[in-house]
Amino acid sequence: MDRHKILRVVILMIFIILLSRAAYLQMARGDYYYELSEGNRISVRPINAPRGRIYDRRGEIIVSNRLTYNLYLMQNEIPPDRSAEEILNQLAELSSLAESRLVSNYNSAEPKSAIDPILLARHLSKEDMVIIAENKDILSGLLVKESSMRDYIYPAELVHTTGYIGEINEEELVSYNEAGYNYRGGDFVGKSGLEREYEFYLNGERGAEQIEVNSRGEKIKTIGIKKPEPGSDLILNIDFSLQSAVEKLLAENYQNLREKAEEDEDLSMPTGISAVVMDIDTGGILSSVSLPDYSLNLFAKGISSSDYQELVNDPLRPMLDRNIMTAVPPGSIFKLVTGTAAMEELGVRASTSFYDSNGTFSIPNWSRPFRNWNPVGEGKLDFVKAIARSNNVVFYELGYELYKEYNGDKLAEYARKYGLGSKTGIDLPSEKKGLVPDDQWKRKQLNTGWYPGDSVNLSIGQGSLLTTPVQIVSLISTIAADGLGYKPQIVNKIRNADGQIEKEFDPEINIDLRDQIDSSVFVAIKEGMHDVINKSYGTASRHFNDFPLTAAGKTGTAQTGGANHAWFGGFVPYDNPQIAVVVFIENGESSAFSVPIAREIMEYYFGFKNHHNNRKKIYYYQEEKANG
């Protein structure tokens, strides 16, 4: 036989083998495998994946997990002669679990198929676990499976940034699964903060054990195991020792200010306080605090609806991350923007001199004068000193000149160049974009045109202008870096369960004005900010006595209809800017209250003050309540 014929024979034999094997599996054994696949004799037990943990920049663990036990009803492990109702009834009789709750969990579950487990109860007590194990024969079809729950090492710190978790809702279930993820009703997902922003990294993937069961619902053998994939860990830019110090500092100040306001009727009652510290070279957020807040422990096991209502209805709005969700006028901090526009567009120089004769500014043919905060005229000032003195009259004039030269939109254009009016893109959900008003906006919203008075008002950060603290920190940082602003970023990298870096967030440039604005502009503006703190006449100088470094900054007291908001934004060191700091006090009356807080934050950062006093902090929802 020649070799070609031999090849033909061999090939024929190979194909006969393949065909016979297919016939054997699919025809001879087909019914057996069909039953297995249809789930008649298969049960799929869940293997839960722990959620990713959260670490600070130095590797200190902030959010971890602890073990808990869930109870499932395995539909295919219920013997044919028994019903689910009967088993639930017996379970309720034997254990401490309430029948109504078990039945409602059973009924509301929507298993995709007969092999899906139904979650009956979470966080089983030891006693109940023992009872279920001892009565295995009666309580067939029940499965106790380990799971993990959030363990907050510092339940009252970094609260808003971390965010809370809760049971997945219908809308999330649909959209997450359509996006290709594998969620089930009853799963816990991130609802706010990083927990929500990085949900798909933190969540991991549930595994499963596929088993064959006999007619009594007993496991015969394991058919296969799909390993769970634990969620990935977040490593933050947050410096937790600084964070803790700022938390404590803000809590103390908040309480003191409220107590003072209680005693002194002339003072307005502050309703919230926040601070954010950003690394100027990277945009990394080193600390972000917003008070009042709540204890994350309230949410670890699923929050009760009464607790939740209490939080939501609290007039002080503890659920609000004021750094990103509160947009109010920035007040005089906006003079930095007006100043930039004036130097670029009106040819104003650092030495250009102005004259404030009587503390007022009047638009020609306009009856009502605009007033400075200082009722007395401040005489002759140059541009830099006007910033240091935060002199309204000078900036009114600049705002009016800009209006005359270019129309009302010029100042808005510069505000937008600095990123105001749009989200900074910080990696947190629900960031507000604020508002930069202009002619078009005013026509649409208020049905009137832009008046010169609007420009004059806007020039000192009043009127309809709205900014968030994180936008202001970005503004300060951009000026400090001579026109280069990085996107504020909380998470530094994401590390998977094997310890490998899954994603690393490189600094991302958000704002780059270096080609648009002459560097001399930033030099002059920064000199003004320097003098705010370091010249005896500067508006913040008295709070910076004996400060060990040279800082720069700008105060802001924003008038609203009611009480004023207090602002301060600054950077340090002046010569080689490293961090930008913003402090915001909602209804805080005056920047006199925000400036000393910013000073202390700077001192903490550079180690002139001890970070580690003690971690205890006043928070407004006690931990005992969460556990009780």
Partner: protein, 379 residues
């Protein structure tokens, strides 16, 4: 370049017919495996990429007909050197998944160089064996082809691509046999080698002796089909799920998109390596038999074309291509049925994967080229 309209008269239409049918079956099964029936499954992306590969492959089929296949023989040395350079580059520059470096990125495409090496080896081996045909009955004639095959084999092993290495080895074995290699020597060397391998592995499993060449996980994948319980969490799980999928299709299948093993994601790598399990589950024995018989039909045509080739070089090339497809079919389908080790090599024309589709169609293009130029009198 040489083209003659008369060539078309010689075309064996069975070949394009079987190939096109297999590609269509492939598109249908990939659609199901990537769950095109589900909202937002992103399935279209897979089909689009696959379609691009098919179109590119068909272009190759047409363009290649303008050349006489003898240029492959003339440029065998060039082909060989570029193959070695390409494989070496992949080891150093390549990117890959799961412990292997298989790709070189060219723009948006990841080129799996080891796939292309299969065809290149066939073209070079055919030339070398043809040139040595007088000595093939002796050791000295078998020596050069063996060295020629051995070097790329090692380079592919270094890429951790055991599957492709086995394909190269099988191509070499069949071509050596068809090219008149001395059967006694072959039986002694390869039979002996196989026994030695079995011995080494048995010793490793029983006595825990060290393992040359292979990593532990590769060995596990290789032997797990004998007893899936060796590794019930990993490869064993895949085999069990694949067998359940296939078997549960019974005679007529569960219907398109109705395969529970497939749609509930119990099947691993279902659009690539385990696509045959999807076919078996959803179309039953009927579907499996159609695919298996189509492959047999195609390879049978290859053998006919080989027999009628103009020269011995053409004969050997077609046999090489036949061997490549035979091994892929046997290994891939056998793996899904639990009678071959898991090596992760795709099912020709059906599995999702651009480079291999391109390789397969190029191989077909060469076979058709040889087919069209079969008449020796045309010169």
């Amino acid at each position: 370049m040489y083209w003659n309209k008369k060539f078309l008269r010689y075309l064996n239409f069975n070949v394009p017919f079987a190939v096109i049918l297999l590609i269509i079956i492939g598109f249908v099964s990939i659609s199901s495996a990537v769950e095109i029936n589900q909202v937002d499954s992103g399935a279209l992306r897979f089909l689009q990429k696959q379609a691009v590969s098919v179109v590119l492959g068909l272009l190759v089929v047409f363009i290649l007909q303008a050349f006489d296949y003898k240029i492959f023989k003339e440029y065998a040395a060039v082909i060989y050197v570029s193959m070695l350079l390409m494989l070496t580059a992949t080891i150093f520059l390549g990117q890959g998944v799961a412990g292997g470096a298989h790709w070189i990125s060219i723009g948006a495409f990841n080129l799996q160089t080891s796939e292309l090496s299969k065809i290149m080896l066939i073209l070079v081996l055919a030339a070398v064996i043809d040139n040595n045909s007088d000595d093939m009955g002796y050791l000295k004639g078998m020596f050069l082809p063996s060295i020629i095959a051995f070097i790329p084999f090692v380079l592919v092993i270094l890429q951790n691509d055991l599957g492709t290495a086995l394909v190269l080895f099988f191509i070499y074995l069949v071509m050596l046999f068809a090219g008149g290699g001395n059967f006694k020597y072959m039986a002694a060397v390869f039979g002996g080698g196989f026994l030695l391998l079995v011995l080494i592995i048995t010793a490793h499993v029983v006595l825990d002796t060290p393992l040359p060449f292979l990593k532990e996980y590769q060995l596990n994948r290789l032997i797990v089909f004998i007893n899936p319980n060796i590794d019930p969490h990993g490869s064993g799980y895949n085999i069990i799920q694949s067998i359940i999928a296939l078997g549960s299709g019974r005679t007529f299948g569960k219907g398109l998109f109705a395969g529970t093993q497939n749609q509930l994601n119990f099947l691993p790598e279902k659009h690539t390596d385990f696509i045959f399990s999807v076919i078996g589950e959803e179309f039953g024995f009927l579907g499996s038999a159609v695919v298996i018989l189509l492959f047999l039909y195609l390879l049978w045509q290859f053998l006919n074309i080989a027999e009628n080739a103009r020269d011995r070089y053409g004969y050997l090339v077609v046999i090489g291509v036949m061997a490549m497809f035979l091994f892929h079919v046997l290994e891939n389908i056998g793996m899904t049925m639990g009678i071959m080790p898991i090596t992760g090599i795709p099912l020709p024309f059906i599995s999702y994967g651009g480079t291999f589709m391109l390789t397969s169609l190029t191989a077909v293009a060469i076979v058709i080229n040889i087919n069209l130029r079969k008449n020796k009198l045309m010169f």
